[in-house]
Amino acid sequence: MPLQIILNLIIAIMWMFLSESYQFTSFLTGFIIGALLLYLLQRFIPDAFYLSYVWKIIKLLFLFAKELVLSNVEIVKWVYKRGRDYNPGIFAMPTDLRTNWEITMLTSLISLTPGTLSVAISDDNNMIYIHAMDIDDKEEAILAIKDTFEKAIMEVTR
């Protein structure tokens, strides 16, 4: 993957020199042309096409934004409701992610999604302890986190 990024940058800079205009727009044109070339020649270059990773990262960011808005609607509902019809508690969630980087991503995603807030991580990185606004549907929350976030993060990192 680093080879492809360097190739793409070299093509962009070469394009800049060939068209003799040293501006950001010509660099961008060169970059797009380089990406196109890499896409066409991807069978002859080791590793998968690197912009597909970028696309997956963008998808993860969109997922993040969507969940953020949804969680806010949920919280605002709880703020303005009369009485307290929620039952908070802390539950444990096993995770398959291993490296520090992945787990940091997962905890940030958990913290910004509806009704869940990561509180602690076990020493062997196996369990994440999550504070939920409504602990009665914790199974649902675990399934949702495993299905959407863990999968999306794994697609990016592996």
Binding site: V76, P88, L112, V119, Y129
Partner: protein, 123 residues
């Protein structure tokens, strides 16, 4: 003619973003006052405040671009840093509260806390 229409659309967008951002921040503040314990308050302060701040910053970005033609990178960086730091700080505050022995509030009176169970088992 078309330019004024675009201006009006941008103005409406900016107004909507600023109002919704301010609304979310006010909701977060009320939530911090109304919720019963540290953890539920963290819910309110991290989520609603994050979206509120990003809404206001995006509104300011669009305003600067539409009315003055400035593309302000600082505002975008501000959004990115708020998004990066808010969950981490919430995690740290929650962990610190738990290690100093704050029990989560519970409606029924019986606290459900799997983290405390495991910690007690270890010691």
């Amino acid at each position: 003619m078309t330019e004024t229409v675009i201006d009006v659309i941008f103005d409406i967008l900016v107004i909507l973003l600023l109002i919704s951002g301010a609304f979310f921040i006010i909701s977060a503040t009320i939530g911090v006052i109304r919720f019963p314990d540290v953890y539920t308050r963290l819910h309110a302060s991290t989520k609603a405040a994050t979206l509120g701040i990003s809404g206001i910053l995006i509104g300011a970005f669009i305003f600067l671009y539409a009315n003055h033609g400035i593309i302000s990178g600082k505002l975008i960086l501000g959004i990115i840093f708020v998004l990066l730091t808010a969950p981490v700080s919430a995690h740290m505050i929650g962990r610190a509260a738990h290690s100093s022995g704050v029990e989560p509030w519970s409606k029924t009176g019986e606290t459900r806390d799997e983290y405390a169970e495991i910690k007690n088992k270890g010691s």
